[in-house]
């Protein structure tokens, strides 16, 4: 079946989900195609990118499922980029985030796409970031990115989201302290999920987080004081409050002019990931072809690329 990128874009803008699915595959598998797609889509759309991160099993997908319900009931169009790890051995992946959200599979205003990390530490590939951009340009109001976001790598979920929701669960106790240097310092909103399972423990976790925020240990970016929300995603409790807080944060960054900055930053991250990918792809080819003087060949290639980029930017 042939549509051509133009045809796919036209149909995608009309909301045709088969076309959107195939457009995303171009973006995922063909960096040049991704450039073309992004270039051909409208660039003036206003959308809110919400990163949802937190340890495995904290209930991110279940919570996201509830958030989708809330936003869709307000008449919004919601897209999800669900990132799951790929195996470092087989390179394969079992992408299971969708299970918790399948109730929305047939909703015309919801689009869910799973992406594997393909071995990248920060959990974000060029494809993942480009997909966020494409969803926004296709007119989705909220674009969620779900990832375990280890938080140590330089490019992670934080660098491309307008609002970061960090999901944790009660009972991690002292681990909270240990987590502070990673995921636990990036949140705009902290969610203590599964409170139905551990009443008292949830209060303790709440106090730990509040103390950390009040003592300024959690990053106060742009003057925003992170909020803490207790939820039970399975029971749907606390979700309304979470939506309220996410809206508050969006208003905050728009009023302070931070939203525009974040939009520009996301594009920058995308370009950087693309550059890395293209150079790395070339490097892998060097390795397969020569073998002999691999190190020198690789070095020559990098130098060549850098020289050419600089020459072009001078011109």
């Amino acid at each position: 079946m042939t549509y051509g990128i133009e045809g796919l874009i036209k149909r995608s803008l009309e909301g045709d989900r088969l076309a959107i699915g195939r457009l995303l595959t171009i973006v995922e598998r063909n960096p040049e195609g991704a450039g073309k797609v992004i270039d051909m889509l409208p660039g003036d759309s206003d959308f809110h990118v919400i990163g949802v991160t937190g340890i495995a099993g904290s209930g991110k997908s279940t919570l996201l499922n509830q958030l989708i319900t809330s936003y869709v009931s307000r008449g919004e169009r919601v897209a999800v980029v669900a990132i799951d790890p790929s195996s470092r051995f087989s390179k394969g992946a079992l992408l299971g985030d969708r299970i918790r959200m399948q109730v929305h599979a047939t909703n015309k205003n919801v689009f869910i796409r799973s992406v594997s990390t393909r071995g990248l530490k920060g959990g974000l590939s060029f494809a993942g970031v480009a997909m966020v951009d494409v969803f926004g340009r296709l007119g989705f109001n909220r674009v969620f990115v779900e990832s375990i976001g280890i938080g140590q790598a330089d490019v992670d979920i934080m660098s491309i989201s307008d609002t970061i929701v960090v999901v944790t669960v009660p009972g991690l106790g002292d681990d909270i302290q240990a987590l502070k240097a990673g995921v636990m310092e990036i949140g705009d909103v902290y969610v203590i999920n599964k409170v139905d399972k551990a009443g008292e423990e949830a209060n303790r976790t709440y106090e730990y987080l509040r103390f950390a925020i009040e003592s300024g240990e959690l990053g106060l970016r742009g003057g925003w004081v992170p909020r803490i929300v207790k939820t039970s995603a399975v029971l749907g409790e606390g979700v309304d409050r979470l939506v309220e807080v996410i809206d508050e944060h969006r208003d905050f960054i728009v009023e302070r002019g931070l939203k525009r900055e974040k939009d520009l930053w996301r594009r920058r991250v995308m370009v950087r990931l693309l550059a890395e990918k293209m150079i790395l792809d070339q490097l892998m080819k060097v390795e397969y072809k020569s073998g002999g003087d691999l190190y020198m060949d690789a070095l020559k290639l990098i130098k060549n690329v850098v020289d050419r980029v600089f020459q072009r930017s001078i011109q």
Binding site: M1, I99, F111
Partner: protein, 144 residues
């Protein structure tokens, strides 16, 4: 392992349980085997309607759909699934069926467009090989 595809050509497969059927051990074992063979596997969970499975398949733009049914309702459910795929223009995606399927039903299922049926006792190796081949073929066929 088979991880021969380059990163950008990695084959994507949807594994789904269709209908009122919670017996998902088989589907999970197959999903795991496909992952270990280097494929990207999307698992939809149990008790899915044909509509949900087709929607997931087109949103994920998968190369292969693998359905598991142990409830006995395979003729009705697969008929609906296959006709929805045609309706959506997504019938270029090969569909495999696994589960407790009576042998006399197999010709009827193939008439509907099901590529192959994996009966109990089929080796994981055979499943992986067939899915991989069909996935590669589909990926090669898709043109933008």
């Amino acid at each position: 392992m088979t991880g021969v595809d380059t990163e950008t050509q990695r084959i994507k497969v949807l594994v789904a349980k269709l209908g009122l059927d919670g017996h998902d051990r088989g589907a999970k074992v197959v999903a795991r085997a496909l992952k270990d063979a280097g494929l990207e596997v999307i698992y939809t969970g149990i008790r899915q309607t044909p509509e949900q499975v087709v929607e997931a398949a087109i949103q994920e733009d998968v190369d292969v759909i693998g359905v598991s049914i142990l409830s006995g309702a395979h003729l009705t459910l697969m008929e609906r699934l296959m006709s929805l795929l045609r309706e959506y223009g997504a019938d270029d995606i090969p569909v495999y069926l696994g589960g407790t399927i009576p042998i006399p039903d197999i010709p009827r299922l193939k008439e509907m467009g099901v590529k192959d049926v994996f009966l109990p006792g089929t080796s994981l190796k055979a499943i992986v090989e067939k899915v991989l081949e069909a996935g590669r073929e589909r990926r090669g066929r898709v043109r933008w």
